[in-house]
Symmetry: C2
């Protein structure tokens, strides 16, 4: 796969093209930091957008088929999807309403999602979903059995046609507006993990393992 993705007419960023990023590593970094994606697909011409978790293994993105049961009805030969991951970093307060904005990093991937048939790849897809959310968790959980694997659909979306859009930094006002007397700046936003809450049926002698207790990835 190339290190970057020449934008197609479909992925070229139309608005604010200076915010566009087509670099594969930069896109992976955004993907790896997100918790959920929003999957878009059509049913009878009506768009649907469903939030779901995802994983990445190399140049493939995996999502749970169950998240989009409507989509799966028509999935035999693959279905056009758009997967979008957005990280919100701050509120950008300008002098003028018009120049208010947000700091964010987002990735849009277009392509055809197909059901993973090979059992080994399906297990690997589920592992990537689990490790994406919480590295180390897979090793400490009861792995899927045959019945569960059968009941689960994993979808593969090759990360081939993609673009990212990034806005960071202070507000940019029209020059004449800098004289307008109001506070301007950024309110940074961050997703933080709070102290883990043990399930009531979790024996008290089992304390939260390192991968849970040390969970402090900034989001």
């Amino acid at each position: 796969m190339p290190d970057s993705c020449a934008p197609t007419t479909r992925t070229r960023v139309v608005r604010e093209p200076d915010r566009a990023v087509y670099d594969r590593e930069a896109v992976y970094k955004i993907l790896d930091e997100g918790f959920i994606c929003h999957v878009g697909f059509n049913v009878d011409g009506q768009p649907f957008v469903i939030p779901t978790s995802y994983g990445r293994a190399g140049e493939n993105l995996y999502i749970h088929g169950s998240a989009a049961s409507r989509m799966l009805r028509n999935l035999d030969s693959g279905i056009p999807v758009c997967v979008t991951v957005t990280l919100l970093d701050g509120l950008v307060l300008a002098r003028s309403i018009f120049n208010h904005s947000m700091n964010y990093r987002s990735v849009v991937i277009l392509g055809t999602a197909t059901a993973v048939q090979d059992p080994a790849e399906k297990l690997e897809a589920l592992r990537s979903l689990s490790e994406h959310i919480l590295p180390g968790r897979w090793a400490e959980s009861r792995h899927p059995n045959e019945r569960e694997l059968k009941a689960t659909t994993a979808l593969r979306l090759p990360i081939t046609e993609f673009s990212a859009k990034v806005r960071q930094g202070p507000p940019i006002d029209d020059e004449e507006d800098y004289a307008f007397r109001t506070w301007a700046g950024v309110i940074p936003l961050e997703t933080v993990a709070r102290a883990p809450v043990a399930d009531a049926r979790c024996p008290p002698e089992i304390s939260a393992p390192g991968h849970v207790g040390a969970y402090s990835r900034k989001r």
Copy 2:
């Protein structure tokens, strides 16, 4: 408008129907807490999903047209969209991989988005977008002038066909898995606002006003 929305075949929650919410006030509460939505629409049969800010005024949702410039090419008579707002509340760690989940609240609105033509409604739409993100900000900013209003498209989506899905609480494992020796519980997630960062060109004597400094809405 009715207080709840009888699910249509399109909005009826198919997976985990016990998580479904069709109550209008509950849906408004989720909408009012979110910062961004993901808008889904089609261009030549390809789904697109774009993150953007939004506002709500009564029974209408407003979004910036600029966020979806691709969509706007075909907007004359309205275009089918799906607007989804997702709040992520926690990671749910079960004993089995299969029963891992997330705590979340999400809303899906289906409908036809149309461009707001009436100048008064357009201004009101922009005000709702601004006040949604940061209540009090509209009054302290330089309001849109005629040129800016002309350059802005606001889209109206009536909140008519909608559903919400909510998952909260501890993991639910298969009964036989409770004997599996691993920690289980929830890692709560929260979006927090950090201390505001003043723009370098903001005069030091202008301190952050109440609506910025006291910004502590939990997200």
